[in-house]
Symmetry: C2
Subunit: 321 residues, 2 copies
């Protein structure tokens, strides 16, 4: 890339900082965390052709690149502070950079966080983001806190993003409106920051659904040393998912990733408190199962209450594709 | 990549955390910064074929990937706290991963910091690191604080790394021992953390020399709104550089990057304090010039005291190559 191309990139991403002490342009960015708070950090690397298609709308790509990182903060109950962006670009193309920056910074603005540092280089299209947030000591939501008897909850309408993936794979046909809705779920997930903050002190464990609901629940179970039972009959579904064949619903719901909803455990009897949080945050919450002793493993009951054979389901694993 | 390959990667990088509250394996890592301190953050993305050769020793690559990030903390006078690593790998090759992790973690151990989070994916070899450090409010070394009359100092023996680059480019021949020394400077730079900490409250401005001494000094001058004069006669050189043609020395010293030495400004008369710091840290420090009013621009005097024509020098810019 030429110097002019780097100036072009600066033009889209460089803005005066409002909250950080010092932003882009020195050796380091400087932030002033609230004294005594713990710092929560997460990082994600997105590679073209693996995490996103070359045909994706750059504005949505900018949104999603930040959203998947903010989602990790949400799953910890952390309040976002700022983020860094590393970009490898084959070329500095204004038609890509302008909407990409717009989508990225619009989401940052909505969460009142700033891009505090970055690095840009020529290379195969790769997006690296590291986010920082803060959380009071001992209040972070971890994967390891689930207790036998807890209820298992999920936010939003998980599974819809998976329908879009299946359309791109050519294994599913959807009408134009349904496809647009599924694609929005896949390309524009909303990080559940407000929900994560509200769950502090209430949820015993949490994770965001990125690789598939069953797989992500499995991480919680392993770390917590417990088992679980989910009921397909409790699966939240809107018209989009309800309109699909039962087998498609099951795959989408249990193995669909990329929705970035929060999956969490809470003590039995927290329904009223959680429904109040759902109203306050505008995010629907559904109770979908229960934490069992470790020996129970992970089982899923079908609509008739019979255990289904999970070996038939292959988790969505973008590393295997 | 297969699940087995990811387990292989985990094996090399996953270690129990000692200082962080929570390390790799949850949605976020948790760190407990010292209450009231500012957080310094820097990020770098290294792409194969651009920032490093495919033939580089993986242990040295691991060292350098972290070193260039720690160098940014050093240039700010920040104390390292931890780092995240994002890796895109064409394949999980143990012969690469084992020495890469060893080189990376050995440097981390020496600076008592931990790998607190990361992301691994299949893709063209790309290394993204984000480092965090802390610094008392108002004490960070910035690029913007240089004042007219300040002396300009540099650490170590800048220019040696550039000789190795020229050998790889085929424009310079060195004997085996000289090449080994130059290559060590290029591949194993030492981040000047202890020096950066010692310069707090003394240096008025600082930057690390990554893109070339003149170019990096230019950043300081622009941000500080000043000019400067450097004297080639004061250029620090050991036998390796002193043994080259005068023209090669000049190019290596003025435009050589990749040494990751600190270039800093300090008030006139700080020589004794700085020589004490050099002794304490074991890093040689040399006074190489003076800060002048902005109108003077940037000028370099040759060994006879005559200004040299800087338009003849092309800064080392890996984005243009």
């Amino acid at each position: 890339m030429s110097l002019g191309e780097f100036e072009l990139i600066d033009r889209f991403f460089k803005r005066p900082v409002q909250r950080a002490v010092l932003g882009v342009g020195d050796d380091c960015a400087l932030l002033q965390p609230t004294p005594g708070m713990q710092l929560a950090v997460s990082t994600d690397l997105l590679v073209e052709g693996r995490h996103f298609l070359s045909t994706v709308d750059p504005a949505r790509l900018g949104h999603k690149a930040l959203a998947v990182n903010l989602s990790d903060l949400a799953a910890c109950g952390a309040k976002p502070l700022g983020f860094t962006l590393s970009l490898a670009l084959p070329r500095a193309d204004e038609r890509f950079l302008a909407p990409f920056a717009q989508g990225l910074l619009a989401l940052a603005d909505r969460h009142q966080i700033e891009l505090v540092g970055g690095d840009t280089t020529a290379g195969p299209l790769t997006i690296g983001i590291t986010v920082f947030g803060e959380v009071p000591p001992g209040q972070a939501l971890l994967r390891s806190g689930a207790r036998v008897g807890d209820d298992i909850w999920v936010s939003g309408w998980p599974g819809e993003a998976r329908l879009a993936l299946e359309v791109f794979r050519g294994t599913l046909a959807l009408g134009a409106e349904d496809f647009a809705q599924a694609r929005l779920a896949m390309e524009c997930p909303e990080p559940r920051i407000a929900l994560g903050l509200a769950l502090r002190g209430l949820a015993t464990a949490a994770i965001d659904v990125s690789d598939g609901l069953l797989g992500d629940l499995g991480h919680v179970l392993r770390r917590s040393g417990v088992g679980a039972e989910l009921a397909l009959a409790r699966m939240p579904r809107r018209a989009l998912l309800a309109g699909q064949l039962a087998a498609v619903q099951r795959i989408a719901w249990l193995t669909g990733g990329d929705d970035y909803e929060l999956l969490f455990c809470a003590p039995e009897g927290a329904d009223a408190a959680l429904q109040a949080i759902a109203t306050q945050t505008g995010v629907p919450l559904h109770r979908i199962g229960q934490v069992l002793p470790r020996g129970a493993g992970l089982r899923v009951l079908d609509e008739q209450g019979s255990p289904i054979d999970l070996t038939q389901l292959a988790g969505f694993d973008h590393f295997k594709s």
